[in-house]
């Protein structure tokens, strides 16, 4: 109880999910949206921030309520909390970044079924105090966001020749304009996102031998 707010233990909760306990590449949670929203960087970034906010606050709320929720109906209670937060995020996105909200379309709603949320609530918030749970939520949101940004960076650069909507590969290089370059159409399609995640896992595990599965 007497832990300082930013003790070493709490900081670890914040940094571990970014690398050695990453929700996507190590815990295998929240893959569906990682595939669907990473064609361009901007929606991926907005999605990552939305997920971080929802994870942090749902962790906080469930952790505050953890001693009063009957075990048998916990899933429904958790889903109601998540759904309410997602509706809030959806309304805020519609109000302030309408164009991105339109691009994300159903995937903001599908945050409700993002396994990161449920996984963290079941595995962490139900058994820990509110502040560590909140930090854990932020940390997992960050870990999710890092992977999303990396995947969308490569998919946008190689698939559309732009970064964050700005053109990187000049128009005159393209074959249609008499140049030599062509976008890789595969990058836009979902299977390529899977293969990119596979490659990221490969790189991460060759750097961190402890994660290798036997």
């Amino acid at each position: 109880m007497n832990d300082p707010w930013f003790s070493a233990k709490n900081l670890k909760l914040l940094t571990e999910p970014i690398n050695s306990k990453n929700p996507i590449t190590v815990l295998v949670l929240g893959i569906c949206s990682a595939l669907a929203v990473t064609v361009k960087m901007k929606p991926a970034f907005v999605m990552a921030v939305s997920v971080m906010i929802v994870t942090a606050f749902s962790n906080l709320i469930i952790s505050l309520l953890r001693n009063t929720i009957p075990n048998r109906i916990r899933i429904i209670v958790q889903l109601v909390v998540i759904a309410a937060l997602v509706i809030l995020v959806d309304e805020i996105l519609k109000a302030y970044v309408y164009d991105v909200s339109k691009q994300l379309s159903v995937f903001v709603g599908l945050i409700i079924t993002n396994c990161i949320l449920m996984g963290r609530l079941e595995a962490f918030a139900l058994g820990n105090k509110p502040w560590p749970s909140f930090v854990d939520g932020i940390g997992n949101g960050l870990g999710y966001g890092v992977i999303l940004i990396v995947i969308s960076f490569f998919r946008e650069l190689l698939g559309s020749g732009t970064i964050w909507g700005y053109r990187v590969i000049p128009e005159s290089y393209y074959i249609v304009n008499g140049g030599f370059y062509e976008n890789n159409g595969m990058m836009i399609l979902p299977p390529m996102a899977l293969i990119l995640v596979g490659v990221i896992i490969w790189i991460q595990r060759s750097r961190n031998k402890q994660l290798i599965e036997e």
Partner: protein, 205 residues
């Protein structure tokens, strides 16, 4: 009858939940280490799909759609509650998953232990919510059609997870670079399977 077979074939192969829409990836990757547990999870998903899709279909038709409440009173003819569909569907799904969890815990404790956290996670399996949302989007005419669609989607998901589990069991004997073992190669395999399944997308029965 022909129509029902058509819906079934479409939902199993052409609109496959995993390879065409990439829904339900989390449990698909995490529980596909052995054929036995993945069969268990696949059957659980089929069961939840068969129950939730028709229930959500009826709720949508008689409670949420514009004018759906006229069976209650003529004055509700203009009422449109479809904005509530998300929260309604997820509540139905969550309660049915809780029910399945209790049944499995009682009758098959070994399966219950093997599935672990992924049984409650069926509630947030995107394939299940996706099934209900596609059912709404494609506007099936009868409850039978909706049930067949739910069954077909479940079977498609089942086939995909059993397929990858079988491949992963064989992979134990192959010499993969160490950091790629396990999850990494599973992702790349799914990507390749997805490219193969993209060939089904153009087929129309």
């Amino acid at each position: 009858m022909e129509n029902l077979i058509n819906i079934f074939i479409r939902s199993v192969f052409i609109d496959n939940m995993i390879f065409a829409y990439f829904l339900g990836m989390c449990s698909y990757l995490a529980v596909s280490k052995t054929v036995k547990t993945s069969t268990g999870l696949g059957v659980a998903v089929i069961f939840v799909m068969i129950v939730t899709v028709p229930v959500n279909y009826l709720l949508n038709k008689y409670l949420l759609l514009p004018g759906a409440l006229t069976w209650l009173d003529e004055s509700f003819a203009t009422l449109d509650l479809s904005f509530l569909s998300f929260i309604m569907f997820i509540a139905v799904i969550a309660s049915i998953v809780q029910l399945v969890e209790m049944v499995v815990e009682k009758y098959s404790p070994s399966l219950y232990n093997a599935l672990g956290i992924f049984l409650p996670l069926i509630a947030v399996n995107c394939a299940i919510l996706g099934g209900s949302l596609f059912m709404m989007e494609r506007e099936y005419e009868t409850v039978t059609e909706a049930t067949v669609f739910g069954f077909g989607s479940g079977v498609g998901w089942f086939l995909a997870i059993v397929g990858i589990a079988a491949i992963r069991e064989k992979l134990k004997y192959s010499n993969i670079p160490k950091p790629l073992r396990g999850l990494g190669i599973a992702f790349i395999l799914t990507g390749l399977m997805g490219i193969a399944f993209m060939t089904f997308m153009g087929i129309k029965l």
